[in-house]
């Protein structure tokens, strides 16, 4: 097997604040192959954005990667110098953000901001960069692209701005596009359009995508693999089918109960009760224990072990271990 395009190994990221160390990401690992779409799902505050910013190395003070590796084609980005990192960002991995209204600089034209990254990472001259910017705007389906180049961000709608962000992120043909809740701030109809656009571009350009969302429903039919995150850890990882139809972590089950679905006849949506755990003071057992209906004694005492359910499916929940025991008991092995 060839090495994956991106390997995140045991990544930890913390914020040192007055009240202590906020452990936003606690040793997460995953791989991303060339041209694949990986979904990262979790409630707000589960560490999705911090994971993305760690990969881009755009964390702001006091955020700091405290451990682990991020291997891109086998090279550890965590060890990159500032200069190496500058040449890497926007060229090999790009990111688009949640709020397109505030993510573009209000005092520069769309054209200026598009050209900027093209001029930075390619040896095109100004004129060629402008041509490329125009081509990108057409690609992402912005109407009247020539006019848009001369406009300022406030003259565009939210959906248009997100398209511009996508154009900017893809202008230098990155290998990976990280989309951090790209549709959360948009109207529902616009959301669908943007998701469709991303799928279309992925087929056309073949880049890998890390699709971050708090809404499982959003990414159901676009991801090759899904990671469910809680309190900066990976709870469960599997194909979209496995996560949707055979969830093996109580948190994943909770998330599924909280989204509208067509295939089951849930009369109503059930949000997960309780509030997320205090990241400065993590419990020694399962981080989800205080909100889990199935919580057992062992859950409070030790971290759930990662259980391989099949080749593509893993989950870290004591329920799985219990099940294995019960099945074994039935067969008289224990």
């Amino acid at each position: 097997m060839s090495t994956p395009l991106l390997q995140v190994k045991n990544l930890s990221t913390s914020f040192n604040v007055d009240s202590g160390e906020v452990r936003a990401v606690n040793g997460i690992s995953f791989n991303l192959d060339k041209g694949k779409v990986l979904g990262i799902v979790g409630e707000s505050g589960s560490g999705k954005s911090v994971t993305a910013y760690s990969i881009m190395r755009i964390l702001v003070e006091p955020g700091k990667i405290t451990g682990g590796q991020i291997l891109f084609n086998g090279q550890d980005i965590v060890q990159f110098s500032k200069k190496q990192m500058r040449e890497f960002r926007g060229k090999r991995i790009s990111i688009i953000f949640q709020d397109p209204m505030t993510s573009l600089n209000p005092v520069y034209t769309i054209g200026n901001q598009l050209r900027e990254c093209i001029l930075l990472h390619t040896d095109r001259n100004r004129e060629q960069a402008n041509a490329r910017a125009l081509e990108m705007l057409q690609l992402v389906g912005v109407n009247e692209p020539e006019k848009r180049l001369k406009q300022y961000p406030h003259e565009l709608s939210g959906g248009m701005r997100q398209r511009v962000m996508i154009a900017m992120a893809l202008a230098c043909e990155p290998d990976i596009l990280i989309a951090d809740e790209p549709t959360t701030a948009l109207d529902v109809t616009i959301q669908a359009q943007i998701l469709e656009l991303m799928q279309e571009l992925q087929k056309k350009l073949g880049m890998a995508i890390i699709m971050i969302t708090h809404d499982l429903g959003v990414i159901a039919d676009m991801c090759d693999e899904i990671i469910v995150m809680y309190a900066g850890r990976v709870c469960e990882r599997g194909t979209a089918d496995e996560i949707f139809y055979n969830p093996r972590h109580e948190y994943t089950k909770g998330l599924l109960r909280s989204i509208p679905r067509l295939d089951t006849n849930h009369a109503r949506l059930i949000p997960i009760a309780g509030s997320p755990v205090d990241l400065t003071n993590m419990p020694k057992g399962c981080a989800f224990a205080s909100r889990c209906d199935q919580c057992m004694k062992i859950c409070l005492e030790s971290l759930p072990e990662e259980l391989q359910i099949n080749d593509s499916h893993i989950a870290s929940c004591w329920m799985n271990v219990k099940q294995v025991y019960m099945e074994a008991e039935k067969e008289g092995a224990v």
């Binding site: 890497f88 960002r89 926007g90 060229k91 790009s94 505030t102 600089n105 209000p106 900027e116 930075l120």
Partner: protein
């Protein structure tokens, strides 16, 4: 933009008219007159003088006469010295503008640089030092600062000469005049810069691989300038028209000094002319700063 500018100019004219009227009636309401302090002028002479300058007419009529002359570009002559007021003002303003221009220029440049440094070194010693000094300069009155500077650098250390008409050394007056606006701009720039550096588009720029210096000077500074510009316009006008305090401490005969003298002397046409001149300057500076604002911030749409 044009519509807006025209509207602003019309408004400015109304403002200046109102200021003129208030000044005119207020100065006439004060007891005494331009000739009353003279050593017992002959009543006959005083009557002739008053008739000559229309001072014997009702105040309302005087005002209308004055404004009519003004529209013809006639500021009148000083009742004290008999000189053409237009000449006096242009002469004195040249001095004030020179002093003020230098002070404003340095205040803006130094203020922007120090403010940016403070923002970038937040909570480290350069920031702490800058904030300490600017707090000091903002809170100590300028006449104390000016006097101290004069005592230390001119009289004690003798590094620079005292200002005199034969030896116009602007160093100390410029420093005294610039410290307050410079400090104010520094603090404004710092807070505005910190605010901007936390914005999402800065994160976008970083994610694109833009180098740190360009993030500051291209992406952040222009946004950070927006609130600073609103302060700078009126500040420049204030400084250009001459700080009476600084001019007095350094005995610089500028417009500020002239203004004070004219009030003491109840030199009516002189008071009017300086007031109107200052008002026009202030209004123009505010207008210009609004227009610059528009250039820097594309979101501002005046029409």
């Amino acid at each position: 933009m044009l519509k807006y500018t025209v509207k602003r100019i019309l408004l400015a004219i109304v403002t200046i008219l109102i200021i003129s009227a208030i000044t005119f009636f207020a100065m006439n309401a004060i007891p005494g007159g331009p000739f009353s302090k003279e050593k017992a002028p002959d009543p006959a002479v005083q009557a002739v003088l008053e008739a000559r300058y229309n001072l014997d007419k009702p105040v309302g009529q005087q005002f209308i006469l004055y404004m009519q002359n003004l529209l013809h570009g006639d500021f009148g002559v000083s009742l004290k010295t008999g000189r053409e007021i237009a000449t006096v003002i242009s002469e004195k303003f040249a001095v004030s503008a020179r002093l003020g221009g230098m002070a404003a220029g340095f205040a803006i440049i130094v203020g922007l640089v120090l403010g940016s440094i403070a923002a970038l070194c937040r909570n480290h010693w350069p920031d702490r030092l800058i904030i300490f000094l600017t707090t000091l300069f903002v809170s100590v009155p300028s006449f104390i600062l000016a006097t101290m500077l004069l005592l230390i650098f001119a009289l004690q250390l003798k590094w620079v000469g005292v200002f005199s008409t034969s030896n116009p050394n602007y160093v100390l007056p410029v420093i005294s005049l610039m410290l307050y606006p410079m400090s104010y701009i520094t603090r404004l720039t710092k807070s505005s810069m910190l605010d901007v550096l936390g914005q999402d588009y800065i994160r976008t720029a970083r994610a694109k691989g833009v180098r740190e210096s360009l993030i500051i000077f291209k992406h952040a500074l222009r946004n950070a300038l927006i609130p600073v510009i609103t302060y700078v316009g009126p500040m420049i006008a204030g400084i250009l028209t001459g700080s009476m305090v600084i001019e007095t401490v350094f005995t610089i005969g500028g417009l500020g000094t002239e203004f004070v003298h004219s009030i003491n002397n109840q030199d009516y046409p002189m008071i009017m002319a300086t007031t109107i001149f200052l008002a026009v300057l202030m209004v123009v500076a505010t207008l210009v700063s609004d227009l610059i604002y528009k250039l820097v911030d594309p979101k501002i749409n005046f029409d």
